[in-house]
Symmetry: C2
Subunit: 348 residues, 2 copies
């Protein structure tokens, strides 16, 4: 029986335990210091976010027991928020030993991190930290993407996930996670999958804003305008990925189109956008959601992505009108209605 | 003042009169023999489908007055259903003379036609017929695509349209249709825009079917699964357009992604899909809608597209699992639930 530890007992970390446990993996689920209440609830009955009990074979660990949760395990899923990623990954590295076997990381966490004064992709920072600690070990890493909402995965709704993978060994392993309702496809474009997964949280706020405006004021925007915003999100994601990876095939498939679609239809980033469209101040909207235990990751990811692109290529940043508009709306107090309407007049 | 005649007083033909009239075109709107009641209503007050009066400068013509409606006009919008296209276009050619000026056609009609025992693209059939009648005239034609729902256009909701255009003269003219809420972009890929516009009516039925199943039975399918279907629609459209045009850039922009998005969110083809998902027999669902004056064009377009692809390239047809599944569901009585679920297990 293969053993796996999932770090993070929020939506996605907990949901992935369903196909894993049903595929007879021995699953440990560790909750961060923000998740102790979740672990409590799960021990008594339902997972409080997924509204159902986890598989009874899943072993639950409180935040204090990170070390215990990874004893004898080298397959590690990381399912924590991008804000929490660095502290947890550092703690993880302190806790693991130089075992004979390689560690294999499957990361459900999306985004960028602030590390040593620079904004970086999460995977490259993880690689850096890992290689500092284990200079002779190979860094084995997969970025998990594609249109998979956690609650629906836990409901056994048919879902396809795309794993960006950098070794054939991991590819073989990842195929073992498939069930009749959760199918794992693989791609060699680790970086493209990671960037798509992060950016889609940003761009999904745009149709949310548009719908929010419509719902509160019927400010003359709906499906036609929403479709422009969705399409523009894909166009801009493809420009960014092309700049980094040299092609944009990954964007025009499940990791890009598919994942932006599901995120634009429902979920936390869309909801954050809706609140902003309804004229809640963006910072307040983020905080309101945060206080009820829901993180609109697009908010921080947008802030970091702008800095990351500014470091990377100022000219590219100029070619991303929707990203710039979202930045103005969310961090510079511009009116969503005027800003988005001007977009179609002036930029596209 | 430039003069234009719009043929077809249904949704799209009528909606396009708003930006045209507001741009000071002298607009004639001619209704087909199915539209006489619409013209009646418009003369009394509201357009019955758009639920508002047309611009008072639009001149209205009953079906018997086709000839009158095009006197002295060489810019012609065709906004009739694909079923009605051939009879109207033939009647039009009978009615027009070999004037000094060239005729310029902007077609809002999407799809394929059955002509001389073969299924063909609408534009190539139009070209054939036009050149039979006017062998020395240039065939000037634009295919209008992009995510523009008619009701929203008539509501002045911000919209972007993409016109596939084969001459620089038409390009210049098309730019004159733009307003502050309706912006016309152009593309040289006339054929790609036309095919996208037709295919999106087919593929939009798939998320509709999925939602219909969910709404009636909670058959375990929703956003995750819907996103797979949307994504697969784009993938298959890109394969088809690539086969015909040699590239698929048009699909990955407003004419493909944008237009499939708006069509999958709302509209007649989506609604037809929903009915089928709720276990109404496809033929009955089509007829129910038809009887209430709404045509789910995807139904006939699917039938014709399968024949068109079969003529064109049998191997390509085999690589389009979603199209084949839709064909089985809609014309061969297969169960939507089983057929779509099997898709993600076996094909993608």
């Amino acid at each position: 029986m293969k053993k796996v530890t999932v770090l993070g007992a929020g939506y996605m970390g907990s949901a992935i335990t369903f196909p894993l446990a049903e595929n007879c993996f021995d699953v440990n689920l560790w909750g961060t210091w923000l998740d102790d209440n979740i672990i409590n609830s799960c021990l008594k009955g339902n997972h409080p976010k997924l509204k159902k009990p986890l598989n009874k074979n899943v072993n639950l660990y409180y935040s204090k027991d990170l070390k215990k949760s990874i004893i004898d395990r080298n397959i590690i899923f990381i399912g924590i928020s991008s804000e929490g990623f660095l502290p947890v990954f550092k703690k993880l590295l302190e806790s693991i030993k130089d075992s004979k076997e390689d560690y294999i990381f499957f990361t459900l966490t999306k985004g960028f991190v602030n590390h040593n004064g620079k904004v970086k992709q999460l995977s490259s920072t993880a690689k850096e930290l890992f290689e500092e600690k284990f200079p002779r070990k190979k860094f084995k890493w997969a970025s998990v993407g594609g249109p998979v909402k956690a609650v629906e995965l836990s409901d056994h709704i048919p879902s396809l996930s795309i794993y960006g993978i950098n070794s054939s060994e991991i590819k073989k392993l990842a195929k073992l996670f498939s069930t009749d309702y959760y199918r794992v496809l693989t791609s060699a474009d680790v970086c493209g999958v990671e960037i798509c997964s992060a950016l889609k949280n940003i761009y999904a706020m745009a149709p949310g804003i548009c719908d929010g405006m419509y719902k509160s004021t019927r400010e003359g925007m709906y499906h036609n305008f929403n479709s422009i915003l969705f399409n523009q999100g894909i166009i801009e994601m493809s420009k960014i990925v092309y700049r980094i990876v040299g092609n944009n095939n990954t964007v025009f498939d499940l990791a890009g189109i598919g994942d932006l679609y599901v995120t634009a239809q429902s979920g936390r980033n869309r909801r954050l956008g809706e609140l902003i469209g309804k004229k809640v101040k963006p910072k307040e909207a983020y905080q309101m959601m945060y206080d009820s235990g829901e993180i609109g990751e697009g908010y921080n990811t947008l802030n970091l992505a702008i800095k990351w692109l500014d470091q990377l290529d100022k000219n590219l940043l100029k070619e991303l009108p929707l990203l710039n508009s979202l930045n103005k709306i969310i961090f510079k107090n511009y009116s969503p209605v005027l800003e988005l309407k001007n977009l179609i007049k002036d930029y596209f």
